[in-house]
């Protein structure tokens, strides 16, 4: 009995506003979100960074889309290098009082002006291509778990290819994410800041070579005034590698602003 009371007291709620991946849940209908993300890589060999302005739309309870632009100094001067459209459709929701299970399908189309120096495919800035996949998210009162499975195909990039450059073709991606609500312990009003912590495992496998890597990505998150979100995360390469991959040992800083009921 004492144990049950103790457990009830230290119960923390799960969070699914993942920093490096998307949950199966959608943003609210008729809302718009604006994000600005900065990613920094230290072993390019020097330090380089990418800025990603992003607009998100909640069309209805099941369909949402993101539009992104990519700017970086990875090829010299800071410049616009491409853009991406991402859409997500939720096709399953099993909601109970203290748990839910949701499943969504997603698709992405990206362009990038960058030459391909690696076989790794990153459709958020480095490659032109398309991707499709599935997301499953389970909220179990105090734990929010999410799994993503994706398959990406890079478009041919003859014009910008230099002889001997790696030719990325296909890439399998998978991730497992978890999140906890740390603060507040007791909700009183919408002005209270929320503090969340995340731990994500991000992996990729090149089906042609069998090469893989797995990153461990911890992150912290603040939610202010129930509409502004600040993310801070870092991804460490835990195992495996892919020659010349960009997103190895990368930090991510993001601010997100939400506007509810603005779409007609």
């Amino acid at each position: 009995m004492a144990l049950i009371i103790l457990c009830a007291r230290i119960t923390v709620s799960g969070q699914e506003l993942y920093v490096f991946t998307e949950p199966a849940s959608n943003m609210p209908t008729k809302s718009i979100g604006v994000r600005i993300t900065n990613e920094g890589m230290f072993n390019y060999p020097g330090y380089v960074s990418r800025t990603i302005p992003e607009v998100m739309f909640g069309f209805n309870k099941n369909l949402m889309a993101h539009a992104q632009a990519f700017l970086s100094d990875m090829d010299g001067k800071y410049r616009l290098e491409g853009g991406s459209i991402y859409a997500k459709y939720r096709f399953l929701s099993l909601d109970e009082a203290h748990s839910h299970f949701r499943a969504s399908a997603f698709g992405r189309v990206s362009t990038s002006k960058r030459p391909t120096y690696t076989k790794d495919i990153n459709l958020e800035g480095d490659n032109s291509g398309m991707q499709g996949g599935l997301i499953f998210t389970q909220l179990l009162h105090k734990l929010a778990l999410s799994a993503t499975l994706g398959y990406a195909h890079a478009f041919e990039n003859q014009a910008r290819q230099i002889a001997g450059m790696p030719r990325p073709n296909n890439m399998l991606s998978y991730s497992l994410s978890s999140g906890y609500l740390v603060l507040p312990i007791t909700y009183k009003d919408y002005k209270q800041p929320n503090f969340n912590v995340y731990l994500e495992l991000l992996g990729k496998t090149d089906p042609s070579s069998g090469q893989s890597y797995l990153d461990v990505a911890p992150a912290v998150q603040m939610i202010l005034n129930s509409k502004t979100r600040i993310d801070l995360g870092y991804r460490f390469q835990a195992t495996g590698d892919m020659e010349g991959r960009y997103t190895k040992n990368m930090y991510l800083v993001r601010a997100e602003f939400n506007f509810f009921n603005v779409l007609k």
Binding site: S13, G14, Q15, E16, L17, S25, N26, M27, P28, T29, K30, S31, N60, K61, S93, L94, D95, E96, A97, H98, H100, L139, A144, L181, T186, Y187, K188, D189, Y190, Q192, N194, N196, I223, S226, K227, R229, N258, F260, N261
Partner: protein
């Protein structure tokens, strides 16, 4: 004419406690609150963020549509876990099937029949998507209403929304 006027002002829903499931952060609750506030017949939405309950107060003499309340919660990305409304009834006759018609709204009570309801009555909507999926399945096995599964039935030859209520 006089009778009609009395009916309109005397039979209404004054407030409701709305339990929303799946809310894990204040941003989710805020989105739900903002979504509910777009309904013209709601005068105020007071959240209990700890319990994920929204206390809705309705405008006087407004047409209250509980299905729209449910839809607004779903639009925000969540589900209704329970909705208990305060009805104000004026000598409402519940027939032998548990059915009563108030200003064109058809109610079927799962736990009342052959009685007259008067004054404030608190009742929960037990229709699909107003309670959890598992609670609905459980209720469906005991509900003796042919309209329970769909929430609609023929009333005077017309397909009509039938709300199933459980008096608390």
């Amino acid at each position: 004419m006089l009778l009609f006027a009395v009916n309109v002002s005397a039979q209404k829903i004054t407030s409701a406690d709305l339990q929303v499931t799946g809310l894990t952060c204040s941003m989710c609750s805020n989105a739900t609150q903002k979504s509910l506030e777009t309904l013209g017949f709601i005068s105020s939405v007071k959240p209990d963020l700890n319990k994920n309950i929204f206390v809705l107060t309705f405008k006087k003499d407004a047409d209250i549509n509980l299905d729209l309340v449910r839809k607004k919660v779903q639009d925000a990305g969540f589900s209704v876990g329970g909705l208990t409304a305060s009805f104000s009834f004026n000598q409402l006759k519940v027939d032998e099937k548990g059915q009563a018609i108030v200003d064109g709204n058809v109610y079927r009570f799962v736990n009342a029949k052959n009685k007259t309801l008067n004054g404030t009555v608190k009742a929960s909507v037990v229709d699909k998507n107003f309670i959890s999926g598992s609670a609905f399945k459980k209720q469906a096995t005991t509900a003796n209403s042919d309209a329970y599964a769909s929430g609609t039935g023929l009333i005077n030859g017309k397909k009509t929304r039938i709300y199933h209520l459980s008096i608390s």
